[in-house]
Amino acid sequence: MAETRTVARTGVRRTPTTYVLRFVVAAYLFLLVAWPVSLVVVHTFEDGFTSLEGILSDPDVVTALWLTVRVAVIAVVINTVFGVGMSLLLVRQEFPGKRLLSALIDLPLSVSPIVVGLALVLVYGGRNGWLGPTLESAGFRVIFSTPGIVMATAFVALPLVIREVVPVLHEIGTEQEQAARSLGASSAQTFRRITLPAIKWAVVYGVVLSLARSLGEFGAVKVVSGNVLGQTRTATLVVEEKYLNFDQQGAYATAFLLAMVSVACIVIVAIIRPKEERR
């Protein structure tokens, strides 16, 4: 009974299979993502606002939240400058080793966060690291301190801006840039007036994704931070610590704050992206 009917608006031919597939996909995503995530909201507000107020009046949690925000902002700024610069180099320039570099840039996406932490400890560790003792005698502590947390965070989010910007740079081509140059614009002017407006939205997506990733980094930060209460403990470490100490309400409330920010990031990207594509 595969009776097909044509829907004029979309031009999609619909058969029973269409509805079965639609249902399977919706059910899968509901069970794997939507339902579990919504339970965090439910658990957080079981007693109204008490558990949120509870964690927000705990000075150690507030310190951890501020540390997380500060670290994430620094890491995102570093990765944005590095990412835009590196994208321009990879797309607009030719140099030996470019292909290798382009492949290596993606490496941080597939390295375990624990390995990231270990790698940083082996180089910057205060006692036995390759560079750590020298830096520490110069009064600059990396591991068990904020710079280490920033590095771990910057490491894991490194490719995100580049992955957004590179395809757009390819797509816009070089004609306008060349025209600007031939009319006497400097490279700085060409970048500011021609290139930057064209890649603006790609940079924004990259930044939003990097921010979400940076606020939520856990494993790498756990290894390099030393997890000192009130000093190097970040928000994600608070979630673990609270849960393991049977403070489920505190864990859910902190997780809720983190989840809210990351969902907000995703929604923002989803809202801007279609506009860009309609351009």
Partner: protein, 265 residues
């Protein structure tokens, strides 16, 4: 091929600065892992990674990641198909759901899964401290990869070819197998590689969910962390090297595929 050099002074300096930072942040630290592992000699390395508990952790991690990747290949392609070819209300919501595992902090992902599939499960399914917890956590965190690789390729496919196949009498299944599938296979493979690499390296979502029981639910990353905490950095580096080799293999595969899929570089 890319031996020509178009760098002028400004971009040369820029490349120098970028490479210094990239080396200090990524290349030197990752080399340190391999050097530390090699520093103890081949014997120590081999003894560490074939040690009973470590070998069990590596087997579990690779096995579950492979299983999850198979599920993702099927479900990811299916999801991408529905998102590209079907139109219905609420589709935008599904798009958002797919990105959530990517943006959600991993520790929160673990907590979230525990809320539905833990001991107070409203469904009566309790996977906490079971092997299936590892599977579930991997499934959650790797959800976006195949979908997001396949989606753009599928959207660009020329519908006329399919219509031609159908008008020549090909069934929908044949059309899919002979016309659509060959053009999306590189994207599926790339997504599968990313999903496998992500699964193998996963840590955060398992901390609360799997109980980290040696020989049962302890994954490689957890094993490395306990070596670090016991101040056995050489052992940690040896196990970490195994993970790095897997990551590198995936990167090489992706590099080959991406040149076909998106033409980057």
């Amino acid at each position: 091929m890319s031996t020509t050099n178009t760098l002028d002074r400004t971009s040369g300096v820029g490349l120098g600065i970028a490479m210094t930072w990239f080396s200090l942040l990524v290349l030197i630290p990752l080399s340190a892992v391999v050097f530390t592992a090699a520093g103890g000699g081949w014997d120590l390395f081999w003894r560490t990674v074939t040690g009973e508990q470590t070998a069990a952790a590596i087997r579990l991690t690779v096995g579950q990641a492979a299983l999850v990747t198979v599920v993702n290949v099927v479900m990811g392609t299916l999801i991408a198909w529905v998102l590209v070819r079907d139109h219905f209300r609420g589709k935008a919501l599904l798009e958002v759901l797919i990105d959530i595992p990517f943006a959600l902090p991993t520790i929160v992902a673990g907590l979230v899964l525990l809320a539905l599939y833990g001991k107070d499960s409203p469904l009566g399914i309790d996977v906490a401290n079971q092997r299936s917890a590892v599977f579930l956590a991997f499934l959650f965190v790797t959800l976006p990869f195949v979908v997001r690789m396949v989606q753009p390729t599928l959207a660009e496919l020329d519908k006329e070819v399919e219509e031609a196949a159908a008008s020549l009498g090909a069934s929908r299944v044949t059309t899919f197998r002979r016309v659509i599938l060959p053009s999306i296979v590189p994207a599926i493979t790339a997504g599968a590689a990313l999903s496998f690499a992500r699964g193998v390296s996963e840590y955060g979502s398992l901390v609360l969910l799997s109980g980290n029981l040696p020989f049962r639910t302890e994954v490689t990353s957890v094993r490395i962390l306990s070596s670090i905490e016991n101040n056995n950095l050489a052992g940690a580096a040896a196990t970490a090297t195994v993970l790095l080799v897997i990551s590198l293999a995936v990167i090489v595969l992706l590099d080959v595929l991406q040149r076909r899929v998106s033409g980057r570089g």
